[in-house]
């Protein structure tokens, strides 16, 4: 690669671009204004011949920075995947000709649009460098699994089978976790009719036989430091001895603890031994060892069992859990079968408000319970009144709409799960935010989830000792899009620590997390980013001389990638970084940049459009669109030929979090009439691929109004929106609305 920059511009005239746009004019703009070394036109650039033409120039050392002016950067990126050079793309197809009408009147403004995109791409390319991996990378295939329950054992075995050795750290003296406490499990195989044996014993045997899995019992993780590919983990045993191992990635399968039923005095828990939780019933069944379970208070035969669903769950009462734990309805059906299968004469009644039986076999299992004669009553239990011979369960029958009662020898409470997620790094921050929202008290139901928590991972990160939590203490991950990812790269949570689940789901979860951990070590070994910019070689660096040690980058990085050195300068851990650019957006002195994405690559694009003067009646609107959702939505608008204003110039950004407010100020100063920021949904049900990026951007932009007032500009000129990938109609509409607004309030006074 040449040291000196040589910029080649390649303009495609295929896909109708040549018919609608003047290619020779664009060539001229590229060389004269964009300062490209040369410009070439091809009528089918993504064809083999077109690609070969570019590759030949690269091989000949003719080009170090290429501009490909053709379709969207989201299209044909296999064809235009050139190594060792910096590539920028001008979107003439989805971004220009497909969103503009093919009419004579529109021709001029459409051409202006294309010309600007050529200028922008040239100036972007000029500030880009081909990213090279740093020397931080290392390949370490060893995985750490924290927790030896069903999830941890499954994850370790799955990894070992794939050739990645695993070390399980288990706090107690034996493997098996909560599942080890069960007499039987909810069936996971057709016909889903009867309780099944748990796989705990089999898994333990498998682990013992597998030389790739090491087990440390009575042990905890005393310290975790480093980054994916090079974690140093200190394992402490109960006896006080410690040892250190090096691992490439971590799977946290720390499971759950059962809800403390002492908080349910209304159900007579603690007042009579005949009221038990589901977990305690498992103990009774195991202890009976095949014989009939007797009434705990007096050893009498049991003839009536009542199951109280959602005990202390799905409730907004203080000390209760507000969520559904998901496993307990199926568990009650299973437990009712313990009795029915032993003696069909025993009456078993499940009192539920909504019977929820997730999982493939759930409905069949429910039906099987009904077939066996388990009675299901839709109602809400208000109270259990202990008696000397049997107890009275008072409830409201929701179908018959009446208060009624039923007798029971044994009452089983379906209490929920609390995640063992450790200490939330952002607990203080969240509490402060909740307090700010006056009137609305912090979710009382959550209080129980955060009492006397111990750290699980003891991360030596500046941003706290454990992975961040989302709601109710469960670890933060995107349920649908990227379930196993946490906000700490290379650390994957699986099982009930992530969300409430049963054995079958936990095993699936464990397998998924093992796969993600394998990805992480492999990517780290090659110096490449993990999800969602997986494979990206660029990473952030900062100019130390300029840094004011303000710490915004370390605080705002959603993934805790940045530590601090002794001199209190930020230290970027490349393999912990997801390449979102949030740090770059946060830095007030703009010293953070990537090789191929920086304040300059975007800033230069903003400044180098052709700005018509005030009397031309041609406003300019800048759109900074998140490349994950908003930009594809606009591309799809193009594919659907949904028109939008020709006055807009769209620049994709890695994440709205990477938007530095200087871009907005620069845009306004250089005469743009409006600026639109399009990012993903923020908040608890975020869709932001970088979790916090969009939220941080919204916060930053909420402060832009002051700047606007200083400049004497209307606040409507800068808008920030949450845009989903499906907003194919809405995204263009937002642009057109801005165009209308400008028509109303007039052009910006800042044109030169």
């Amino acid at each position: 690669m040449a040291d000196e920059m040589k910029m080649g511009t390649y303009i495609c005239t295929g896909c109708g671009i040549g018919d609608r746009l003047d290619a020779s004019q664009m060539e001229m703009i590229a060389t004269r204004e964009g300062k490209a070394t040369y410009a070439k036109t091809h009528d089918f650039l993504c064809s083999q011949a077109g690609v070969d033409m570019i590759q030949a120039d690269i091989d000949a050392g003719e080009v170090s920075n290429a501009v490909i002016a053709a379709c969207s950067r989201r299209a044909k990126n296999e064809a235009f995947n050139f190594q060792d050079i910096a590539v920028s793309r001008a979107n003439l197809r989805e971004g220009v000709i497909w969103v503009r009408p093919d009419t004579d009147e529109a021709r001029e403004t459409t051409q202006e649009m294309a010309d600007d995109y050529i200028r922008m791409a040239c100036f972007e390319a000029k500030h880009m460098h081909a990213p090279k991996p740093s020397d931080e990378q290392s390949l370490n295939k060893h995985l750490l699994v924290v927790g030896g329950g069903i999830t941890g054992m499954t994850a370790a075995l799955e990894a070992a089978k794939a050739g990645y050795p695993a070390t399980i750290v288990e706090k107690t003296g034996q493997l098996g976790g909560m599942a080890g406490r069960l007499a039987k499990k909810i069936p996971t195989r057709s016909p889903y009719a009867n309780p099944a044996e748990t796989e705990v014993a089999d898994l333990i045997a498998e682990i013992e036989a597998n030389s790739n899995v090491t087990v440390c019992l009575n042990s905890t993780v005393a310290k975790t430091e480093g980054a994916p590919g090079r974690f140093d983990v200190e394992i402490a045993t109960e006896s006080g001895s410690t040892s250190t191992i090096q691992v490439g990635a971590v799977i946290q399968a720390s499971g759950f603890k059962p809800y403390d039923a002492n908080q349910l005095p209304e159900f007579a828990y603690g007042k009579t031994p005949d009221v038990v939780t589901q977990a305690e019933l498992e103990d009774l069944v195991k202890a009976a060892n095949g014989d009939a379970v007797k009434r705990p208070s007096d050893g009498k035969e049991i003839s009536e069992v009542v199951f109280v669903q959602c005990a202390g769950q799905r409730s907004d009462k203080e000390g209760h859990l507000s969520y559904c734990s998901g496993f307990c309805c199926n568990a009650s059906i299973k437990q009712a079968m313990y009795f029915k299968d032993a003696n069909a004469g025993i009456d078993t009644t499940v009192i539920f408000t909504d019977l929820r039986t997730p999982g493939s076999g759930g409905e069949d299992f429910y039906r099987s319970g009904q077939q066996k004669g388990v009675v299901f009553t839709k109602g809400v239990v208000s109270e259990v009144e202990p008696g000397s011979d049997g107890h009275t369960v008072k409830f409201k029958d929701l179908i018959l709409d009446e208060d009624t009662a039923i007798q029971a020898d044994l009452v089983v409470l379906a209490t929920g799960m609390l995640p063992n997620s450790g200490v939330d790094p952002y607990a203080a921050e969240k509490a402060a935010a909740a307090e700010e929202e006056e009137g609305e008290e912090a979710d009382k139901g959550d209080v129980v989830a955060t009492v006397d928590v111990e750290s699980i991972l003891n991360l030596d990160y500046r941003q706290g000792s454990d992975v961040p939590q989302l709601v109710h203490g469960f670890t933060d991950s995107h349920f649908i899009c990227f379930p196993y990812e946490t906000r700490r790269t290379g650390i994957y949570t699986a099982g009930p620590v992530r969300r409430p689940m049963d054995i079958a789901q936990a095993r699936e979860d464990a397998t998924g997390a093992a796969m993600k951990a394998i990805h992480a070590v492999e990517n780290a070994g090659k110096g490449r980013a993990a999800h969602p910019r997986s494979g990206d070689l660029s990473y952030p660096t900062f100019r130390k001389e300029g840094c004011t040690q303000c710490k915004r980058c370390t605080v705002e990085c959603p993934f805790g990638a940045i530590n601090e050195d002794e001199e209190r300068y930020p230290t970027f851990n490349e393999s912990r970084c997801r390449r979102c650019g949030t740090c770059m957006g946060a830095c007030p002195v703009r010293v953070i940049s990537f090789e191929n994405y920086s304040v300059d690559t975007v800033g230069a694009q903003i400044k180098n459009v052709d700005m018509p003067d005030e009397f031309d009646e041609k406003p300019r609107i800048l759109v900074l669109a998140c490349e994950n959702d908003a930009y594809p939505a606009l591309d799809m608008a193009g594919q659907n030929h949904i028109e939008y204003s020709a006055f807009v110039r769209v620049i994709p950004v890695r994440c709205l979090g990477s938007v530095n407010t200087i871009w907005v100020t620069d845009a306004l100063n250089s005469g743009y009439d409006g600026v639109i920021l399009m990012g993903c949904q923020k908040g608890d049900d975020y869709q932001c691929h970088f979790v916090k990026g969009s939220e941080l951007a919204h916060t930053r932009m909420s402060k832009i109004d002051d700047t606007l007032q200083q400049l004497n500009l209307e606040t409507e000129r800068v808008m920030t929106y949450e845009v989903a990938i499906t907003d194919v109609q809405r995204a263009p509409k937002l642009i057109n609305e801005m165009a209308e607004t400008i028509e109303k309030i007039g052009m910006s006074p800042f044109k030169f």
């Binding site: 019977l355 429910y366 039906r367 009904q370 077939q371 004669g373 009675v375 299901f376 009553t377 839709k378 029958d397 179908i399 018959l400 009624t404």
Partner: protein
């Protein structure tokens, strides 16, 4: 209280669900209802029932014997089969409704003034005589079902239609005297008797221990 009713109360004590399973046509399906309410929402007459099917099934499970068996609800079923088609648990709801009505009637608990109940009795009485429905007699007995005055009024109202039917030979006044019958009336009556025996045996079947 009929003897049979007394016997059944004695036999099943609190377990009305079991009683229904044993004695009501398709009654063993009742436990499979998952209380979704689709049947009640689908029934064209649902809003007019005291207890739509979903509720009846819940009442059976809750042991509300008296309330269920004396209810007019299952007599409201028009056999449109909407509920059967839609029930996600595939309960033969229509059949259970008729089964419940039938069982209530056998126990002597059915509501005597319910029009469907009354009509069914007239229809039955009319049918068993000759094995064929005598439309003229059935019609007239229906007109007079609710007393003489209303009967005369209805008859006068319907006179035009009646005459028209006579004229076009859709109805014969001769039916009033005797009327036609199936070929083998004796055989028909023997069949009815046999059916009654089978049913009695079924009731007895669970009589021993339950």
């Amino acid at each position: 209280m009929s003897d049979m009713n007394v016997a059944m109360v004695e036999r099943y004590r609190n377990n009305f669900l079991k009683e229904v399973e044993h004695n009501v046509e398709e009654g063993d399906w009742v436990k499979m209802c998952m209380q979704c309410g689709v049947c009640s929402g689908s029934c064209p007459l649902g809003p007019y029932w005291d207890h739509p099917p979903q509720e009846l099934f819940m009442m059976i499970r809750a042991g509300k014997r008296e309330e269920v068996l004396t209810s007019t609800s299952m007599w409201m079923c028009t056999s449109c089969y909407n509920c059967i088609v839609r029930c996600p648990r595939e309960l033969p709801i229509t059949h259970i409704m008729h089964g419940l009505a039938h069982y209530a009637k056998r126990l002597g608990l059915a509501p005597k003034e319910q029009p469907t109940f009354k009509f069914s009795q007239h229809f039955w009485n009319n049918l068993v005589k000759k094995g064929r429905v005598n439309e003229l007699k059935l019609g007239l007995s229906l007109y007079f079902m609710n007393g003489l005055v209303e009967g005369i009024k209805t008859s006068l109202n319907m006179a035009g239609i009646g005459l028209g039917m006579l004229k076009t030979k859709r109805m014969s006044p001769m039916e009033m005297i005797g009327g036609h019958s199936v070929k083998d009336t004796k055989g028909f009556h023997a069949m009815l008797k046999k059916a009654e025996e089978i049913e009695a045996a079924r009731v007895e079947k669970y009589g021993k221990g339950s």
